[in-house]
């Protein structure tokens, strides 16, 4: 779009777009503006106020944000979110990648194994949470198994124990996510060149060397997407924690999203809750941009 030629060209282009096409674009765009962008802007405004939902919101400047950083529950949730992003992201990416490599080439049983791994993905996070609540009961499968192999000492009230609650929920979330990451990597592996792999095998490269130096470099595109998606997902995580512990006991499994929901919808501290939401947004922003850059490349190429 050079400055000189732009005005004339733009006018003729605008005329070339039939009116009904503008309608095709405007209706969905307005729906998204009304349901997404307008509310998002409002959250920023609300984060600078104190409001219980009745009457007018009282502007308080940055007080909410200042309070956040002396709020132990918020800081705990922030720390838990970091643990969550690393644990959830790391385990599901490692697991998903390993499984994708193992189940990449067709051989007997592969279809069955793949289905078993990605079946949990179809259940909602709430259902997943309840499925695992059952396993974590004091007399549930996990404790029973531990007892059966003689590890009675390890038996715990997994979800009621502040030391284990977050990790117990994490295991359930990873169980569901691994299949999704595996599917993404299987698609990425399909795009790699199998002859390279065969050739390096002929040359005597070990399985690990072939993965590290032949396959891995070809997966860069998928890695970016998986990375961005996983981090965005881990900042969004809400349902499974809500279904399993609601952030408890004693906020030990609290994430930013659950704390925000409690502040906003249980205690009606709408300004404070909005400030937490703004923090979540700020943390997600880098990864949203990464994803968008990747999407732009894809759209261009």
């Amino acid at each position: 779009m050079t400055a000189v030629a732009a005005p004339a060209r733009r006018r003729s282009r605008l005329r070339a777009v039939p009116k009904v096409v503008w309608l095709f674009l405007l209706v969905p765009a307005l729906v998204e503006v009304g349901m997404v962008f307008w509310p998002a802007v409002n959250s920023f405004y609300l984060s600078l106020t104190e409001w219980n939902g009745l009457g007018a919101a009282k502007p308080v400047g940055l007080a909410n944000f200042r309070n956040l950083f002396s709020d132990d529950v918020f800081l705990g949730a922030l720390k838990n979110n970091v643990v969550w992003a690393i644990g959830f992201g790391g385990l599901s990416v490692l697991g998903g990648l390993a499984l994708a490599v193992a189940l990449n080439r067709p051989r007997r049983g592969v279809g069955l194994y793949r289905s078993a791994i990605y079946l949990p993905m179809v259940f909602s996070l709430a259902v997943t949470g309840l499925f695992w609540r059952v396993q974590y009961q004091p007399d549930g499968t996990i404790n029973t198994l531990l007892g059966a192999v003689g590890l009675d000492g390890w038996e715990k009230q997994w979800l009621a124990n502040p030391d284990t609650a977050l990790y117990a929920v994490l295991v359930a979330a990873v169980w569901r996510q691994v299949g999704y990451v595996m599917v993404l990597y299987l698609a990425g592996l399909k795009g790699t060149d199998p002859t390279l792999d065969d050739a390096s095998a002929m040359d005597g490269a070990s399985a690990w060397q072939r993965f590290r130096f032949v396959t891995w470099p070809q997966l860069r595109g998928v890695n970016t997407v998986v990375f961005a998606v996983t981090v965005i997902d881990s900042l969004r995580t809400f349902d499974i924690v809500w279904a399993m512990t609601q952030g408890g006991p004693y906020h030990s499994s609290e994430l930013l999203s659950t704390y925000m929901f409690q502040q906003g919808f249980t205690f009606l501290n709408l300004g404070y809750a909005s400030a937490i939401a703004v923090v979540i947004f700020a943390l997600a922003l880098v990864f949203i941009i990464t994803y968008l850059i990747r999407a732009t490349k894809e759209e261009a190429g």
Binding site: L130, T141, W242
Partner: protein, 293 residues
């Protein structure tokens, strides 16, 4: 993993007379994968067994014991006082219109952006996609307020509206990519024959998009059906909650009745499992659209 480099001809020899270490590797693969697959499926199997056990059996022998009873009491209770049937029906009432409206609107936007020289179309497209990537938390409070001021709070219309608005960006992006890949000659020929913009959309573009639409529909159905956070944000009345939210409520009410809770989670899980098996191919390709190339 090394056996993966075998070509088909040599695979035959593997099946008959095999060098011992190759055979060992093949067993090694199954020795790792088979238990792993069993572990992956086990939680589901246990919940399923629990759902069909009687209350006395569970109370007496624990949730982890193998079943010695068969009873439909859990399901009877979940469908009866638990009202899971009503919740399922509400989920259908939300999911079906939300999926149809989202895909329809997304296809409009994608058509306009992909086939016409709209200035700044790329920026518009990416902005729409960005909207879908926002963390929902930043929308929750204002959305519930907007719904209140529109008089829609605590109605299914509000839930449908937010699903449509929030999902639009992603579906538009995917459909845009697909529509751009359709050759321009197709619509050019129709235009010369005097077909209008709308009829080109309806008679040429949409039929060609059927595979992408199917993939997106399978994906959108499970996403919307599985939603929890929007439902508890815009709905208050218990009798209006869709299945995931109703399930959590029920779980709070039947704390020690594990057969009822298990039965209710099975009820909530079955519809998406059916969609998955019926549209497995679409489902997987749906997950891949927009995420790899």
């Amino acid at each position: 993993m090394t056996a993966a480099t075998l070509d088909p001809v040599r695979q035959d020899t593997v099946a008959s007379g095999t060098p011992p270490n190759r055979k060992r590797r093949r067993w090694g693969f199954h020795a790792v994968m088979a238990p792993l697959a069993v572990i992956w499926v086990a939680p589901m199997v246990f919940v399923l067994m629990l759902a069909f056990r009687s209350f006395d059996d569970i109370a007496g022998r624990g949730t982890a014991a193998l079943p010695t009873s068969f009873s439909l009491d859990g399901f009877r209770e979940a469908f009866g006082r638990g009202e899971m049937g009503r919740a399922l029906w509400i989920s259908v009432q939300v999911t079906v219109p939300a999926v149809i409206i989202t895909l329809l609107l997304a296809s409009w936007a994608a058509y306009a952006l992909s086939r016409f020289e709209i200035p700044g179309r790329r920026a518009i497209l990416l902005t729409m996609l960005a909207g879908n990537l926002l963390p929902p938390q930043i929308l929750l409070i204002p959305v519930s307020r907007v719904m209140e001021s529109l008089g829609l709070y605590d109605t299914l219309v509000a839930l449908i509206a937010i699903h449509v608005g929030f999902g639009l960006g992603f579906y538009t992006f995917v459909l845009y990519g697909f529509m751009r890949s359709l050759p321009g000659e197709l619509t050019e020929a129709a235009r010369i024959d005097g077909a209008g913009v709308v009829s080109i959309y309806a008679r040429i573009i949409m039929p060609l998009c059927r595979p992408s639409l199917a993939a997106l529909a399978a994906l959108a159905t499970t996403w919307i059906f599985n939603d929890l956070i929007w439902a508890i944000t815009v709905l208050r009345t218990e009798a209006k909650l869709p299945v995931t939210a109703a399930l959590l409520n029920l779980q709070g009410g039947y704390v020690s009745n594990w057969n009822v809770v298990a039965a209710a989670s099975v009820i909530a899980a079955v519809p998406t499992a059916i969609v998955f098996f019926a549209f497995q191919r679409h489902f997987v390709s749906g997950l891949l659209v927009g995420s790899s190339k």
